[in-house]
């Protein structure tokens, strides 16, 4: 169990360290170190889980099972690669004079804070604590969104803060209802422990749980970015520093979805109608389609990709909503590949924006000619996210399609429509940016693209074959969520 505590402890230390650190430290490198250590700890944890199954900490405060273990590793991994990216990125921003040393320290300590919140959401066994951590994640990132102090960034941060705050409050109400329902069947203080709840989900009062789930869905759904609760997301992504957008898209949304799914498991256990699933399917499909259309109207490159995040989250929500083993497996896979791909894309996007000195897509031109690595990176990332094989996104989308075909055939045309439109929306914007002659006086920037290469390589690998242990976790998690293993 030690590694689990380590995973939580290291970022905590990180926060304090960066908050109190003196002038002289090279914050970027240190941040990388912290995340690296964290990654090692998570891998250790993963190995433990691999050896002796589900772990439950002493006070049953922490729960690591096959559903969240790979998410934890993923979080640590993306956190690390993004920190590598942000070291160079932030240095560049500082040279441009957009940031002061003090802000930088704030940034890094908040980065750690965010990581802490993420780990806590994933590891905790207590639904209440999960809520607290989720709210904590908002609080940690709000200041990062407004890091540049431009009017737009302030506005974005304010919207993010208010909307997510109000939304998450609903989730708290849901949690209270859950606790209330749990309190009906005794075991007082431990009543909010997920493991306990899951064991005796049968006895929980279905009506209350359904109401609770609605609140949870609205609350955490706001963070997932489900339409029409999504409005904060593009603003926050586009105005904050790019590494932030990478972790927001790559991790925060996943974890919010994770929370919803945990609750869905309880509701499904308690009530026997498909209500929760149908709600998720509805929200998912709506977000998927609406986001697909939004893609066509973007002018800001980061907004573009944040909408594509909404689209993909919608697809995952939809898939979880279907609830058949195949769909669930697909959704789990999609969570992984999407966060890998999307964070990689945001890394390239960040460099591209620095290259052109602007985030507006009319300014970004001729990337391949100017700096081939960035151009190809962006192009490949887009190819991957658009769901072209042999990248992993294709695999998951393929499975989702077939699962839909199996359960709700009449929904597949909508899904296909969405995919097609989203694809067109992405490419009509990306092509002019990467191709063509380079604009006058565009010069290369110092860019470290190893994160991109590694991420895309992983996605490629997952597309070609899913390694045994991961497949194992996926199918165990599927059994946990959907009741039976895929096929």
């Amino acid at each position: 169990m030690i590694p689990a505590y380590l995973v939580l402890l290291i970022p905590l230390v990180g926060i304090l360290f960066f908050a109190l650190a003196g002038k002289k430290v090279d914050t970027g490198k240190l941040n990388i170190r912290f995340n690296a250590v964290c990654l090692v700890a998570t891998i250790w944890l993963a190995i433990n889980v691999l050896n002796d199954g589900t772990l439950l900490s002493a006070g049953r405060g922490l729960l690591i099972d096959s559903f969240n273990v790979y998410l934890i590793v993923l979080t640590a991994f993306v956190g690390l690669t993004t920190s590598i990216f942000s070291a160079s990125y932030m240095m560049h921003e500082k040279e441009l004079g957009r940031l002061t040393e003090k802000r930088l320290k704030l940034y890094y300590s908040m980065y750690q804070g965010f990581m802490l919140a993420m780990y806590l959401v994933l590891t905790t066994n207590n639904m209440g604590v999960m809520w607290v951590a989720m709210e904590g994640a908002t609080l940690a990132t709000v200041l990062l969104v407004s890091l540049y102090r431009t009017p737009e960034s302030i506005e974005a941060a304010w919207k993010y803060f208010i909307l997510c705050g109000v939304g998450i409050a609903q989730a708290l109400f849901g949690t209270i209802l859950l606790y209330y329902a749990a309190a009906q069947i005794g075991n007082g203080e431990n009543a909010l422990l997920w493991s306990v709840l899951f064991e005796n989900a049968k006895q929980l009062n279905p009506e209350i749980l359904e109401i609770a789930f609605v609140f949870m869905l609205i609350g955490y759904g706001t963070k997932i970015g489900l339409v029409p609760l999504h409005n904060w997301l593009p603003d926050a992504h586009s105005e904050g520093p790019t590494p932030m957008s990478a972790v927001l898209s790559g991790l925060l949304l996943n974890d919010a979805l994770y929370a919803v799914v945990r609750n869905k498991m309880l509701v499904d256990g308690a009530s026997h109608n498909e209500m929760a699933g149908h709600l998720m399917m509805g929200f998912g499909l709506l977000s998927f389609l609406v986001a697909a259309f939004f893609l066509h109207r973007q002018k800001d490159i980061k907004r573009l990709f944040s909408y594509s995040s909404i689209e993909h989250m919608g697809m995952m929500t939809f898939a979880f909503g279907i609830g058949s083993p195949l769909a669930t497996f697909a959704a789990l896979l999609h969570m992984t590949v999407h966060s890998l791909t999307k964070s990689a894309i945001f890394v390239t996007v960040g460099h591209a924006a620095q290259l052109a000195g602007s985030q507006s897509m009319d300014k970004i031109r001729g990337l391949i000619k100017t700096q081939p690595r960035i151009g190809w990176g962006l192009l490949m990332g887009t190819i991957a996210i658009a769901g072209f094989p042999p990248f992993g996104v294709f695999t998951s989308e393929f499975l989702v399609l077939l699962a839909t075909m199996h359960s709700y055939p009449w929904l597949t045309p909508l899904l296909l429509l969405g995919i097609g439109i989203a694809f067109a929306g992405l490419f009509r914007h990306v092509q002019p940016m990467v191709y063509g002659e380079k604009p006058e006086g565009q010069v290369t920037v110092k860019a470290n693209l190893w994160p991109v290469i590694i991420h895309l390589a992983l996605v490629l690998w997952l597309g070609l074959t899913i390694p045994g242990f991961l497949a194992n976790w996926f199918s165990q998690a599927t059994t946990l969520i959907a009741g039976s293993a895929p096929l």
Partner: protein, 709 residues
């Protein structure tokens, strides 16, 4: 063994791609190899000199390119060998690769059908790899790095080969999309030109849509089957409606790739954009892979073919054939023209396939086999001569930097070999006897003429009409390619570029094209070879062979029975030779008339012939344009410069003609418009006012609560 060859082909093409990627770092490679070789080859002098020759700065890069194409060529040969061997020992090989989903490894199946298409791809790739080095040398390394070109070429070829190997839906889709994406990059390789970017985007978009509908088609089968493996799909029992839905989806998907009207619009855009050897592969081979997909899907996976599908195919095929050739007729850009003519040939192929489906559905498997065979044979031929023509187009562009046929002319004296090869291509594409194009078209007619056996009066009258349409298509094709050859090679040079053109120096480029031309002629004279192979394919797919397959010796071609119809190309060849030689000998016997006197062209006694006086492409096509005016969207503008007293005497006349495809305004622009407006409407919901947003979540909450209670 065969399977190893097949894998070898894939791996080699893949390897060539990777190797091309390495060439990006050729300077470092150079340095490394210098060190290595200095270490090892101290002794052998001849070898040393050879190596040093290849290792100096200029030569080295070319050598690397050579190596890339050699790998590609090896993969082509492997493919040919694999295909032939599986076709000869009519077996079905299956295998599994440990990739893919945990519960679904990649299934591999290599049977005669795959083998036949392997053969097609192999030949094409071999020719291209002979042709390639000379062609890419002209590219400016800084503008278009060879690494990208070579990499994606390798991926493209391996993708196509994998499609043929795939035996489960997942693997099939991966290979299919790999093929599409790789070719997309190849289309976009010269991306400075906005038109190319647009073409690439259009191509990728349509490829994506097609792929989605193919997935959907598989889904329809899979939803009533156990899994995604083709075996499971074969065993699936479908209701007729489900089967028809699957067929329509598959037709949409594969037709999108094959370029059936009206799904063909990407084709004339993408082919000119790509480098010539790539467009040769795309047009000559990739479209055939789409055909393979449809055949595999209908005859193999669905299993029971319904004759209504055949009718659909016949109609669409006829429309595509006529439309394609008519559009080709009006083009002035050589590669666009060739692209449209691909649409025409694909149309013919699908039409004949439709005939075979009709016969199949009406319970005449043998005649179905005849149609099937004709279709595949025409696919084979088209692969040969379209490849040839595109490669020649590449040579012409390479030598004259000009592809507008109104700007060329008189090349036959500048580039004799090329012109001869091109002529062979033209003759076989306009299906003249003694060339392969004619044989497949002859078989097609034979199929159509067997309509008597059908009971359904509608079919009995539909098929002959479509046959007549086929005849019209053939005649138009002949006219079209007379125009092409006549304008490019005959007459007087119409521009400075064609004036100072000269024969291509690079042996490889000639070798590649000559190979194809030779095959065109060979299979025109001895079609029996291919048809025997195809018989095996028909046996495996339809379970039936030709009615009268004993008649397929090298000499005679009598598909149904000797007294119904027979054709003997070798004897015809002999006859022609006899007649020609006789007349030749007889007329040149007397010494004084043997020699010809050269003089200025008579030209009905007008004189002062200038190149400007020659017929241009649009002039040649003028009568057709008048007759079939409704087929195109014509924008014809005649503008006169008048001068002199009272502007009476015309000093100059400007004529300009723009030909546009009907499918744009009718099919595509509405879709684009709809998407944009929809996006605009959807954009409305994001007002930027936080209170509205709060309102959204508030209302959503109330709504949800109300819903569940």
């Amino acid at each position: 063994m065969t399977l190893i060859l097949a894998y070898g082909a894939v791996l080699l093409s893949f390897a060539s791609g990777l190797f091309a990627l390495i060439t990006n770092r050729w300077q470092t490679l150079l340095a490394v190899s210098h060190r290595r070789i200095k270490k090892y080859f101290k002794i052998d002098n001849a070898c040393w000199s050879w190596i040093t020759k290849n290792l100096d700065e200029q030569q080295f890069f070319a050598t690397l390119q050579q190596a890339v194409f050699i790998l590609l060529g090896l993969s082509g040969m492997f493919a040919v060998l694999a295909g032939v061997s599986v076709l000869i020992d009519k077996t079905v090989l299956t295998d599994q690769i440990g990739l893919g989903l945990p519960w679904l490894p990649w299934h591999v199946r290599f049977d005669s059908l795959s083998g036949f298409f392997y053969l097609i791809i192999g030949i094409a790739v071999t020719a291209v790899s002979l042709y390639g080095p000379g062609y890419v040398r002209a590219y400016d390394e800084h503008k278009h790095p060879f690494a990208a070109l070579g990499l994606f070429t390798g991926l493209f070829v391996s993708g196509m080969l994998l499609v043929l190997l795939a035996d489960d839906a997942f693997f099939f889709m991966i290979a299919w999309e790999l093929m599409s994406v790789a070719s997309y990059f190849l289309v976009a390789i010269q991306h400075e030109n906005p038109a190319n970017r647009r073409a690439a985007f259009l191509y990728l978009l349509m490829a994506e849509v097609g792929a989605l509908s193919i997935i959907l088609a598989f889904g329809v089968l899979a939803s009533s089957a156990g899994g995604f493996t083709f075996d499971a799909l074969r065993d699936a029992t479908l209701s007729d409606t489900r089967a028809s839905i699957a067929f329509i989806l598959a037709l949409l998907g594969f037709g999108m790739k094959a370029g059936l009207v009206p799904l063909h619009v990407w084709l004339p855009e993408a082919h000119p954009a790509a480098p010539s050897h790539i467009s040769a592969l795309m047009s000559g081979v990739m479209l055939k892979v789409a055909l393979y997909g449809l055949v595999r899907f209908c005859y193999d996976l669905i299993g029971t073919v319904q004759w209504q599908w055949g009718v659909v195919l016949v109609i669409i095929g006829t429309v595509s054939a006529l439309g394609g050739i008519l559009y080709a007729m009006m083009q002035t850009h050589l590669k666009r023209l060739l692209a449209y003519s691909s649409v025409e040939n694909i149309g013919i192929i699908f039409m004949v396939l439709g005939l075979s489906m009709i016969f199949m559905g009406n319970g005449h498997p043998q005649l179905a086999a005849l149609g099937f065979l004709a279709a595949l044979f025409h696919a084979f031929n088209h692969a040969l001569f379209k490849n040839l023509l595109f490669l020649c187009a590449g040579i012409i562009h390479h030598q004259t930097h000009e592809l507008n046929i109104d700007m060329l002319g008189g090349l036959i004296k500048k580039m004799p070999q090329t012109s001869l090869i091109f002529l062979v291509g033209c003759m076989s594409i306009s299906s003249l006897p003694l060339f392969n194009g004619f044989v497949s078209e002859w078989l097609a007619f034979q199929t159509a003429l067997q309509v008597d056996v059908l009971n359904n009066g509608v079919l009995r009258s539909l098929i002959p009409v479509s046959a007549a349409a086929l005849a019209l298509t053939a005649a138009l094709a002949a006219a079209c390619f007379i125009k092409v050859f006549g304008l490019i090679f005959l007459g007087l040079p119409r521009s400075h570029n064609s004036q100072k053109a000269h024969e291509i120096a690079d042996k490889g480029m000639l070798a590649g094209t000559t190979l194809l031309a030779g095959l065109c002629f060979l299979f025109g004279i001895l079609p029996g070879i291919i048809i025997n192979l195809l018989n095996g394919v028909a046996k495996q797919m339809l379970g039936e062979t030709l009615p009268n397959d004993t008649a397929f010796n090298w000499l005679w071609l009598a598909p149904v029975s000797a007294d119904k119809a027979s054709y003997s190309p070798p004897l015809v060849l002999v006859g022609v030779l006899i007649a020609a030689l006789l007349s030749f000998w007889y007329l040149r016997r007397s010494p004084e008339t043997k020699t010809m006197r050269r003089a200025e062209a008579w030209d009905c006694g007008f004189g002062g012939l200038t190149p400007k006086m020659q017929y241009t492409g649009s002039a040649f096509a003028m009568p057709f344009q008048r007759i079939f005016a409704r087929v195109w969207l014509l924008d014809e503008q005649i503008h006169k410069d008048v001068g002199g007293a009272m502007n009476l005497n015309v000093t100059a006349i400007h004529y300009q003609l723009q030909v546009q495809d009907h499918s744009w305004p009718t099919v595509y622009q509405p879709i684009v418009y709809a998407v944009n407006t929809a996006a605009k409407q959807v954009g409305r919901i994001q007002t930027g006012n936080i209170r509205t947003y709060l309102g959204y979540s508030f209302v959503t909450l109330l709504l949800m609560l109300w819903v569940i209670s």
